[in-house]
Homo-oligomer: 368 residues x 2
Amino acid sequence: MSYLQLITSPTLLLDEKICRANIKKMADKAARHHMKLVPHFKTAQSKEIGKWAKDYGITEVTVSSIKMAEYLSGEGWKNIHIAFPFNPLETLKLDKIAENQSISVQIINAKTAQILAEQLHHPVGFFIEIDAGYGRTGVEVTDFGLIEEILLIAKKSDQLNFKGFYLHPGHSYYMPDIPAIYEESRNALSMLKTKYSTEYPDLVTRIGDTPGCAVMEDFGDIDEMGPGNFVFYDLMQSNLGGCDKEDIAVCLAVPVVDIKKDRKEILVHGGGVHLAKDVLIDQDGNKNFGEVVYLNEDGWTIPEDRSYLKSISQEHGIIKASDELLSKVKVGDLLGILPVHSCMTADAMGEYLTLEGKTVDHAEGVHE
Amino acid sequence: MSYLQLITSPTLLLDEKICRANIKKMADKAARHHMKLVPHFKTAQSKEIGKWAKDYGITEVTVSSIKMAEYLSGEGWKNIHIAFPFNPLETLKLDKIAENQSISVQIINAKTAQILAEQLHHPVGFFIEIDAGYGRTGVEVTDFGLIEEILLIAKKSDQLNFKGFYLHPGHSYYMPDIPAIYEESRNALSMLKTKYSTEYPDLVTRIGDTPGCAVMEDFGDIDEMGPGNFVFYDLMQSNLGGCDKEDIAVCLAVPVVDIKKDRKEILVHGGGVHLAKDVLIDQDGNKNFGEVVYLNEDGWTIPEDRSYLKSISQEHGIIKASDELLSKVKVGDLLGILPVHSCMTADAMGEYLTLEGKTVDHAEGVHE
């Protein structure tokens, strides 16, 4: 039986072959640059996809919340890293995970370091997150006073172990100038490594964004990479040039509920609660909430003439359709939608269906 | 113990008093206009909040998917209406619900009517959804050919029962000119009622948006109202003038993880996977993903000087903070965020915590 026969409502499809190829390609790239790949599983949030990643030599994983760390602990990861400035209200939960699972966190202020130093009963690693210009989070790269204050607090603790410096150059999502951002990031991390490696000879540096990890070839002396989105990719990444649309490993299957031929519009069941509301805006100001692919028994094909979601509300999606699509679509059909931001779509859907008809877990869909 | 002591991670708070007052006010308004209030539970998606609604004389409920209908069936509702153009792939599921629960759907094309007429074994009501200018979904108000084609198909079926005309003037969310939209909507529904009531003397007309139901006082001869968002309201509604900020019944409690005094920014754990990504944009082009309230043991207070989320990513939120907030906030504190779009925030969170520390169900958080 085809996976298509299992679908009656919006369903997130996952092409295992594409997903594995994406993981393999990034693992090969990391190996070529003598870097350790520690994928960010905020995108996949899945034990099963974690097993696939292990097939390509991946032994450690990154997450963005204690909830995800809880979900993935006990799955045999050599370490789980929470790449989010640690929330001191979750110290007890962290300590509990650390009892049975090697785990690390990010620290960007002295108060959080102090709380962890005082309250942990089990060993926890930490990275200091560095802000080299993105401005979302992190210690400013030249704020040696704060870096050393954090290191000093940790030194007095038996449980808090400094691992190195983490940098997420998230502005690579907004700026076409990834090489310049990477030069700045490489220099920042290299300077910190040089400055602190005498005292901490094992310290490592890690960089964390998908666009940069996908397109750059010069990582300088950075030791580890932690991209997330690359396991699935999406339209945002293909727009940035980090992947081709053919590399996108997930698409939302949506039922066609009405067709307005005169307006060239198709109404589907598929809206903000399924795709999330990330949007691409083209030069003419047109919004694009996802692009149509044609589903078949083996997966999907990308049409030459583009059809796309021009608007979405909570459950509704309106497709601006090409003539080709209009000529063959019928009420009751299923179409595929390539998502703008696959991390958010996967989180909204909380489950995947493979092309073999197998359900794959996602942390959000499991209530333990 | 205060509800605050239960919170270590992003948590959606629900003030039961405000929520009940919102329901009561709309129920009183419907009664004053001799209309039936059939609230749209795409917002609350909750069995428990359904019980509260029953305290104010509400006996029927609206939903936007078969999944929500399944969730709320068997809860004693006199009827559950799915206010979404019916997806014919879900005919079997609908038929199964209809075995034990009075249910109705929306039909906007002949093909779907035909499939339902042929395949249903249990009685199902239906509204014809009318498009009077919004353009998202529905039969154009003057397309009598299509209206009569659908009615004729239903007439030949033993199970498909025509209930009336439904109109969602969703453009009231985008245009300040609600009175003009309502005049058009009233006229459209009144014309259809007059035209078809000889043949269908029991037919009713229903209108479905919160902004209009909140601010209008002239509903003409419309029989029923089906607003949804009013149970919680949100910043989008208060911006439109449909409510005051004091009427907003939900807020997201978020932990403070870092403070940058020089930039007047506060980093919180609370992003797109919690709030969803709906955004308000002010006259100067500044984005607002939610506004800060101060939490206390009795609930929250709205500060005079506004602080707001200027940007969010998957898990991060960055608050542009007032001087007052900066002067008292500490890492490890909890702040409240009034959401821009409460329906989407509730769907993302999948659960509520009341100020009494009680968990309230949401369909998305329950896996049966």
